[in-house]
Symmetry: C2
């Protein structure tokens, strides 16, 4: 422990406790306990350039125990990121860049991924490591090493106990991600008390069984030499992810150190003072950072990441000359540019054909994958059902990460968190796949992705009772309402090839939202009236004329063709395809009223819960309970979702409402 190290660590600790005290809420325990390892990592290992926080080959740092974010913000401030002291003092206040948990979004520089919901950070970090490995194997050339950085994760007991972390770390071990280094803050405390209350794993043996390299630091409070050595050791192990089991004292320095009491509330004023005194700081000063501390970090950042970044820029420049095609391709990835005219490859419906929309999706993917060469993704062990592996795809495996197809295993939650990491990395466009009903297994990550404006495409097949025999355990009822209620998530249910391709067009273009694409197991007719422009507006008339129809049937996906059959039975009826309710809601009132004219009765048809459908119809035909296990046509019959019954209900609704149906459009005040 040099003078400078000691001062830096003390400063980090005291900044963190001042932030929590200033906000009158927050978590001092983890920042105090992890200040020494944070100092060691940021001053001696982590390569980054605060002047160019988006530099693609920077080391990624993830504070998976996001409640300890006072630590992250302190480090970002001290090492020169655009996070001034005013933001530090504004911790957990409205409009600050220092919210209660780290939120990855525009302007929050240095926050690589949103954390706080436990387990998400470490799982998304696996996505960082995987993307780095893919890009390194794909674009590095002899003499031109563009990608060689590490991904570092801090996490606590909370993260490691979460299922999503268990899945992700198993996956990382399988893929031998040697560029991933996790520091486990082994402080023997969780919120409820000592870990002995709930957690008896031999964590080291477990991670070895998962194929990880492990190393233990027995004194994480003061032994900087050991911490440094452990980081060096892990960086040298390139064929396995590494975990440092760091024994620390939660709230180190506080009078209540080593107890759950120091986890999640401000320290008492007198406790803060004695921490500062022990750290050699002025007990009366708050948010105090000496010039020496700023200078020490400025020097180390310049020597590490600064120097590496300068050298990298040279490499990148000469790469342009030596490998112009690869340079251009990677450059377009980094700039988020799609190849000119890629959308022309999108296949459209051929009338007369019948296909499952998951097959339409496969056809679309087969067209997109060769054109959009940063599309990467896979399935949670349902490749043959989700139909997500484009022709001529290559798997990412233990031996090679150059391919673009990922075998996620039966790990839906980790898959979604990893996809968030891939999207946040800043080069690739991730898609992932499972059955629609099991998107909820992954919801923790889906919501964080939506909140963080991360562009992930969720391919969700077997989307309804139309899957038939697998039964109600596999038939979603509540999932569409969930998706529609989630901000910044676009839920699509295309009805044929044209709508499926248009869905991919939207999803690939909008790189700042989560996209859930519900696709059918069973076949439906391809339509001649489906339209790309219609999909872009979320809903449109796909049959008949809404202006003159007695009644409109609004439906989505596989029930659109059923609705058309019902409309034909009825006679003067029109059908609207509601592909994406959020896109429709975003349209002008004029457009919305042109699709659903005021006065005309509307029947809604979708084999799900009707929650939310009051906005789009006067009478809803769907499911009130769970589904049933039987061949699909029998299940549709059981729930009255037949063309005859729909036509009958339309007739009854017209009899009731005539031309005076109340407006469905939201009242603006």
């Amino acid at each position: 422990l040099t003078m400078s190290d000691e001062l830096c660590i003390g400063t980090i600790r005291c900044l963190a406790i001042d932030m929590v005290a200033g906000a009158k809420s927050g978590h001092p325990g983890a920042p105090m306990g992890m200040a020494p390892i944070a100092h060691t990592l940021f001053s001696k290992h982590l390569n980054f350039d605060p002047k160019d926080p988006d530099w693609i080959n920077r080391d990624r740092f993830v504070l998976s125990n996001g409640h300890g974010c006072a630590l992250l913000y302190s480090m970002l401030h001290l090492t020169g990121y655009d996070l001034p002291m005013s933001e530090i003092k504004n911790f957990r206040q409205l409009g600050s860049k220092t919210p209660g948990h780290p939120e990855r979004m525009e302007g929050h520089v240095g926050v690589e991924i949103t954390t706080g919901p436990l387990g998400q950070g470490i799982a998304s970090a696996v996505g960082f490591a995987l993307t780095q490995k893919h890009l390194a194997e794909r674009f590095n050339k002899p003499g031109h090493t563009l990608f060689d950085h590490f991904t570092y994760v801090f996490c606590g007991d909370g993260c490691l106990m979460e299922g999503v972390a268990c899945e992700a770390t198993s996956f990382a071990g399988h893929l031998k991600l040697g560029n991933l280094i996790v520091v486990y803050d082994d402080n023997q405390i969780t919120i409820d008390g000592p870990t002995s209350l709930t957690y008896s794993e031999d964590v080291e043996a477990k991670y070895q069984a998962l194929g990880w390299h492990t190393t233990v630091v027995t004194d994480g409070d003061t032994d900087l030499v050991a911490m440094n050595k452990a980081l060096e050791e892990c960086k040298a192990v390139t064929d396995k992810p590494s975990m440092i089991l760091l024994k620390t004292t939660i709230g180190f320095g506080s009078k209540m150190q080593g107890t759950a009491k120091v986890h999640g509330a401000p320290l008492a004023a007198d406790d803060i003072k004695q921490v500062k005194t022990k750290a050699g700081l002025d007990p009366e000063a708050s948010y105090a950072v000496s010039d020496d501390v700023y200078a020490a970090y400025k020097k180390s950042v310049a020597a590490n990441g600064g120097a590496k970044h300068a050298k990298w820029q040279q490499t990148w420049k000469s790469y342009a000359t030596a490998h112009p095609a690869e340079h251009a391709e990677l450059d377009s990835f980094l700039k988020g540019k799609l190849p000119d005219g890629w959308e022309k490859t999108l296949p459209m419906s051929k009338e007369g054909e019948k296909k499952a929309t998951r097959q339409c999706s496969e056809i679309s993917l087969n067209a997109i994958a060769p054109a959009v060469t940063n599309l990467i993704g896979g399935s949670a062990d349902l490749t043959g059902s989700n139909l997500t592996r484009a022709k001529d795809s290559t798997d990412i495996s233990q031996d090679s990460a150059v391919g673009r197809y990922i075998r996620f295993g039966i790990r839906e939650h980790a898959m979604a968190a990893i996809a968030n990491g891939i999207a946040a990395y800043g080069a690739m466009i991730p898609f992932i796949a499972t059955f629609f009903n099991f998107v909820t297994y992954a919801w923790g990550a889906v919501r964080v992705g939506a909140l963080s404006e991360l562009g992930v495409i969720h391919i969700a097949t077997h989307d309804s009772i139309g899957l038939g025999e697998d039964g109600p355990t596999h038939q979603p009822i509540e999932v569409p309402a969930l998706c529609r209620a989630t901000p910044n998530l676009y839920f699509y249910r295309p009805c044929d090839q044209t709508e499926t391709s248009a869905t991919y067009l939207n999803a690939i273009e909008n790189r700042k939202a989560q996209h859930v694409v519900a696709l059918s197991r069973q076949g439906v007719p391809m339509l001649s009236t489906s339209s790309v422009e219609g999909v872009r507006k979320g809903a449109y008339c796909i049959f008949g004329d809404v202006k003159t129809a007695d009644v409109i049937i609004v439906s989505s996906g596989t029930e659109v063709s059923l609705a058309i059959e019902a409309a034909k039975i009825y006679g003067n009826a029109a059908v609207v395809s509601l592909v994406c309710s959020r896109l429709f809601d975003e349209q002008s009132a004029t457009y919305r009223e042109s699709v659903l004219p005021v006065g005309t009765p509307v029947v809604g048809v979708e084999p799900f819960s009707g929650v939310g459908w009051e906005r789009y119809c006067h009478y809803f035909m769907g499911l009130k309970g769970f589904g049933a296990s039987a061949p699909a046509p029998k299940v549709y019959d059981l729930f009255g979702l037949t063309k005859e019954n729909i036509a009958e209900k339309a007739k009854a609704l017209v009899a009731k409402l005539g031309k005076n149906a109340p407006s469905l459009h939201p009242i603006e005040l």
Copy 2:
């Protein structure tokens, strides 16, 4: 392998493949591979009495790889459960007791828990084992062993890779559940292909690190002696859960055995014939069971479970005399009877007090726990925040399971699945707790619980932007819509002590549904007009007079008192507390129209997504995006959820609609 064993195993295999062939869909691979262990378990170890399938001390059997349910149904049929051959032949057909995945529900005897969604079975089985241990320690007396059964689980790679299983098995290891025995069908195959594609764990070493006893059977295809020995060995280990790593060949006997091709589709007709020939059965006969096979199982069932059950009945009888109080208490648990007058203990609001509704919940629990002595539950490491530990509670720990408070660790998904298991066991009333936003981490289990009619109470605190500084990662937006869209799930958001107590009353009485109770972090005034009867109807007028009001404000939970303040500003306005929309929807049209009279404009207020609110209001005030990190009052201001703004919008709505607002009530056709 005796003649009889061989014939039984062949019969199981062939029944399973005939079922899948008959249904033209399903999963033959796992049943064929696991037929030998199923035969060994059911004929030599599993204690049950098909004549009394609810016998409380039966061994529990869980087929966690539920897609292999042809195996389960075959075993239930062969061993004498009320599952006749007609049901076997009706596999995956409408209305059968043999759906595509096992569904625990009325009439589906022998199905202990719903499985199919991977990982749920093994996690719920932990709930079985925990409940057994609790009841054994609580009610067994010297000479009176009422509870001494085992819980057996079959599972495959799919289950073990799921996060929910990782969480649950870690928890089981921590609690040293020696009455839990898992058979891992280690067949080296998943749907996508060989496990080497995705799964490189040293499973045995991992489970040892989790505190499990492990044993390997290298030939699970034919070595019945080894399988039997492994089961004996695991039963003898009483201080750890056990795992048998059983190496099997998926689809054993098929021409495609050992490959993913045999996992999830019917075998070809010629393949079926050769399997039957190899098994010594008539290749032309379908669903063939010889009298010898029925006789063999009849004999073994009588000798095992039959004899044990008869003896148990004697014990139970003499227990009544020796321990009358305990007998009466346990008897009421088993019959689902609540103590007379328990509901009189429920605390009501005292006007003038201010409390967080999570505090109201704590007060209710403190009253309920001593009265309802089969209430059992805990929190996922948020005890001090969820306020779920009643006074004088005792923890369930490694050393003693006699308490009724469970420290689940940071394992939300497993917690919910375990609670399903506790509910399915048939004696205890489980509650569990986390932050409302993290109920979605557990959704896989919540939905299975709703589908299976399992009575679990989810205590979900910190339910909105009112939690303030922790920010949008912790502030639910979409979760209420999800809950409301889920069949057989009651979502409550009580506004004060009276409503919270009434919520518990409903939830404890309805033992066939999932109940999610959203509770606040922040304080609100206790009201004098809140009502138990109102809560029972889901919604009711809590302020003013809906019949004469210009405008009605519908709200829930912490915003009810805000709505009342807004109504006071407005003047002639009434407020409706929508505690539980599902209960309200279940009321008569007359009642619903008495609460929301046709013609009167209605403003809805809830700090969530408005999806679904079109049914309860003409104009909704909530959140369109995610929340914000700041002190709660500032967040409410930011989103316009202030009494002044609500009053203003109410005024504007009245100006727009007058007394001619359209009906909000569903049209019946």
